[in-house]
């Protein structure tokens, strides 16, 4: 049957026949790199047009509708414009940090793709500490924002970066604890194990109320971590003009922009993997016929479908809620989310030990 894992296996087989085992690994790595970059470019285009269409729909207007059918090529045109724009560096900026920062943001986003399972048996790197790897690498993203804010030699950028630092470091805790709840239920940090554990039901449904609480906290925390409204304190355009990327233009700005959307995709993919079963089809008990139909849908469609559903949820937040104030934002984390997720973790542990989950 046609599937992503089959294609990958065939390529692997063919390369091994043609160039030998060592070169095959090298070439496969190159192919994976190109595929990741290609995925990012596509994601950027798709998510930007999706965001614009979603916002237009919520704001009773049409949105982009000039370039291509129903404006679908608008983001392509925007990318072209950004590519040919001059990337200015302000006079007083720290040139090295200023120019490196967008790439750091981008690289972090790319690294996070490694342990994700896009389809059945289709994963770049199924390492045994997948979840730990994700929380470790995602904390690096704050460095790129701090670099950008500090190097810009702009007070707005600096304020935005400092806000973002405080915010991401705080919300990392809740996100980590929410993820830990699933790790406790599964008993493994490996992504493929976590997905396998959801074969007969997603954790969101199997894990009782604690899993639902963990899911809600996870969504709130990752919205904050990706600097999306209502937690877009780092940008807060009505307060700080554009926050940490005030001074960026051209492709360097586009990289930040792309990194934001890539991060949104990644956190939603992680959410889908941990709580909604990743590529696992939706199964109900022993309804064999229903489950058979669900199995017939390719696993990659399941994965991307769940991810995009979560992305839509996050976009929905952005276009509905006003922004929090910085102290309210930190209060929310330290006074509410963190204690709740700690208590929730205890509850989950109890459930896991007693085997109360389905």
């Amino acid at each position: 049957m046609w599937s992503l894992s089959n294609i990958a296996a065939n390529i692997d087989l063919w390369l091994n026949e043609q160039v030998g085992a060592t070169w095959a690994v090298v070439l496969e790595m190159v192919i994976a790199g190109v595929a990741v970059i290609g995925l990012f470019a596509t994601l950027g285009l798709v998510l930007v047009i999706m965001e614009r269409k979603v916002s237009a729909w919520m704001q009773i207007r049409l949105g982009p509708n000039r370039v291509g059918p129903k404006g679908m090529f608008q983001s392509l045109a925007d990318t072209l414009k950004l590519l040919v724009k001059e990337g200015m560096t302000p006079g007083g900026a720290d040139k090295l940090l200023f120019n490196v920062a967008p790439f750091v943001a981008m690289i972090v986003a790319m690294l996070l793709l490694a342990p994700l399972a896009f389809a059945k048996d289709f994963q770049l790197w199924d390492l045994n500490i997948g979840v730990l790897y994700i929380s470790a690498v995602s904390s690096i993203s704050v460095i790129s924002i701090l670099m950008a804010g500090w190097a810009s030699n702009n007070k707005y950028s600096l304020l935005g970066a400092m806000r973002s630092g405080a915010q991401i470091v705080s919300y990392e805790l809740s996100a980590g604890l929410a993820v830990l709840a699933i790790v406790v239920l599964t008993g493994s940090l490996r992504i493929s194990d976590i997905i396998q554990a959801q074969e007969n039901g997603w954790w969101l449904f199997k894990g009782h109320i604690p899993a639902i609480i963990a899911f809600i906290i996870f969504i709130i925390a990752v919205t904050a971590e990706t600097n999306r409204a209502p937690f877009d304190m780092a940008e807060a355009e009505s307060e700080l003009t554009a926050g940490f990327h005030t001074e960026y233009s051209g492709m360097k700005f586009a990289l930040f922009f792309l990194a934001e959307y890539a991060n949104v995709f990644i956190v939603c993919a992680i959410g889908a993997t941990l709580f909604l079963g990743g590529w696992m089809p939706f199964h109900i008990g022993n309804w064999t016929a229903f489950n058979g139909v669900m199995d017939w849908i390719p696993s990659s469609i399941w994965f991307f479908g769940k991810t995009f559903a979560l992305i839509f949820l996050i976009m929905w937040f952005r276009w509905t809620f006003p922004r929090l104030r910085i102290d309210q934002l930190l209060n929310l984390e330290w006074k509410y989310l963190l204690p709740i997720s700690m208590f929730n973790l205890l509850l989950v542990t109890l459930i896991a030990i007693m085997g109360w989950h389905f």
Binding site: K155, L159, D232, S238, F321, P322, R325, D327
Partner: protein, 371 residues
Amino acid sequence: MFEEVGTTTEGDLIINMGPQHPATHGVLHLVVTLNGETIKNVEPHLGYIHRSIEKMCESLTYRQFIYVTSRMDYLSAHINNHACAMCVEKGLQLEVPPRAQVIRVLMDELTRIASHELWWGAMAMDLGAFTPFFHAFRERESINDIMEETCGARLTMNYMVPGGVMHDLHPNFQRRVKDFLQLYKSKVHEYDEMVTGNVIFQNRMKGVGIISAEDAISYGCTGPVARGSGVSCDVRKHYPYEIYDKLQFDEILETGCDSFARYMVRVREMNQSISIIEQLIDNIPEGDFQAKTKAVLKLPKGEFYSKAETARGELGVYIVSEGGTTPYRIKFRSPGFSNLSILNRMAKGGKIGDLIAAMGTLDLVIPDIDR
């Protein structure tokens, strides 16, 4: 250039908010002294859009100068024109026909709704919610369409002339206003659902930008800004002009003294304006829309002051006449200028986000402040 301004100590950060800044709605320039995120001082620098309308008016005739005033508070263009026309009428001791009076009040109230709609959308946008802006513009557009039909303009109407209005109402006027009333009533619940009832919004607004009643009076605040602090100052009630004394409407007072109180005043004021329009729209008397006036207006020697309630507060027009065809000196007491002066007091000690929330509820229109 601004580094030496104000008292700064080690660790303070001075940022220039504006003249190009998304939250200052125009070319207001605020020099903000920060300690971390906490505001220590806010100092407005004005003049980026100062056209010296007062000087300009000194060389314009009493018919001409009214049109310039549309460009002051462009969101209340009708009411600006109205106040000026009333001042000239006071000098000429001119009686305005009843039809013109009703038309003027109708236009004023439509303007007030349109202005508050725009403010409502912009306020939500200041706090980071984009969507309400577009929803507010849906209703505002239909008011602008009504204006366009009757006055020929959508923003700077120039419809009021000394003695009445420039031309009669468009035949469609009544029907379209009724359509608008229906549209507004079917959509007004969205305002509460989308913004007023939102927990984040309430947390951002409540307890922010406190103005005590004493301060409001001392700083010369008028309009919704003062009424949010419980100061009764509606010119339409206290010094009724045209037919306002014959109409049934409430002066909206809130005692919260904070940004949320001022927000509620404006939202509730829109409903009062709707009720005024409902009372009048079927009762527009027949007759002249303009009193007979001479081609060249000459005001007698003396001083004339008229006031009107714009969407932002009390607008005063002070004309000093030497008996000629042009004013000798004219002064516009614009509500925004006085309201702005309290900004520093409101914002001190708050966060940057609070400054935005407080400034938004002042409903500043910069050309009104700069004149």
